[in-house]
Amino acid sequence: MSRLGRFLRMVFLLDILQGLWVTLRRYFSRKVTVQYPEQVKEPAPRFRGILRLHRDDQGEPLCIACKACQRACGTNCFDIEGKKEEGAKVMRPVKFDWKLDRCSFCGLCVEVCPTAAIRFSREFRLTGVGKEGLFFHLPDMYRAGQDLQEHLCAGCRRPQ
């Protein structure tokens, strides 16, 4: 910029006025805020929410208690025991303990599962009141949504 231009810019505070214009424009622009909890932004399909065990179309659990997830996990969240019933074709889990406070939501367990039994859900509302809510047993692992919230709030007497 020429020296005269720079001088005029300084005297007439043009850089100041330009800055003020930017914020004024922003003042009138549409805001991108999502007002939680009235509005909830839906997470992406691959979102790593809480883990959940899935069943197949007949309602049978997909988990075959192979403990691949337990071996893959880097933070020792899992404690699994399986048993093969008489006449059954595959092993089923009898104990499936999972600790929410240890999980780092990395997804290694989901990747190694041979039957895609354990998967991420899109549930991110994971608040609870007592420590008991952080310890998941086999029936809790199948829960979703509202049921899950009940479990997490196990410490309080909130009526559902």
Binding site: G19, R26, R46, A72, G74, S104, C106, G107, F120
Partner: protein, 364 residues
Amino acid sequence: MALREIDLNMGPQHPSTHGVLRLKLAVDNEVVLRVVPVIGYLHRGMEKLWENLTYTQVVPLTDRLDYIAALSNNLGYVLAVEKLAGIEVPRRARYIRIVLAELQRLASHLAGLGFMANDIGAMSVLLYGFEAREGVLDIFEEYCGARLTVHGIRIGGVPHDLDGALVARIRMVIDGIPKRLAEIRTLLDENRIWKGRTVGVGVIGAGDAVDYGLTGPSLRASGVPWDIRKDIPYSSYDEFDFDVPLGRNGDVYDRYFIRLEEITQSIRIVRQALDGLPAGEISAKVPRVLKVPPGEVFHTIEAPKGVLGFYVKSNGTDKPERVKMKSPSFINLQSLEHMCKGNLFSDVVGILGSLDIVLGEIDK
């Protein structure tokens, strides 16, 4: 007249130290004489922890080092392990990694610039930067499921493919970034108050910068053209055409300007990568339980904060024997004293912001 030294403590809890950093300052009236950083408040024992985990289990934990640019840490570690294990990554995976890494660089610089501007008083720039960053974080959420602790790279390749919808989305996001950058530039670039706070402040010369081991945008702002992506290319960076912006004076203004320019260059790289995405596999065949042959390797990448290096030593089992991480912020922090000497102590926050450190990296 004798110097009257006052000891000031910028404690671990402070709105402007980027994390829990303690700075012991010695000032004479207003001029800074000594700066002694005290670190370790965020030490989690990562390197020791990694010795008990398998190579695959370490990858998600590297996210937690530089938490602003998690993917770069993933990439650094994974590249080191792949070099040691001799795993050849398919070309498509390499391109996808570059797309993700450059998007992460963009996001990291926006956050870093925002924090620096906020410390100097321009609060709005922080929020504009973060709003721009949201687009990138949304892409990460679509791609691998998490926004901050991404775990978006696996040993051998990448976990998911970039399909057409995701590519279109990435293009849409990076098309919108230059407008945001223009806003930030209008607010700050020529602003007399900003220039008064940043030009000539926190100067470090090229020779001193190299002596202190400064790397990354801060080094390039002093005029030293060292960028690992150009000088020791990794993961197909040599196939891309991009510029490495260089500064002249090595002051806070240059460090701010370089980061802005790097965002533009990152957009350029992402566009090239998306245009030329080769077909192929997204991951090499890696055994479930990865046993790495004995050996040691030190591999560096250009993380957004500087040169990130991983030294991995293996003894043939599936767990590394020793992983040592050379974090850029740790080394960059050394030069803080040199930069702050002679400046007023109001400048310390600005200089610290321009160095762009992350305590997660420093303390591991």
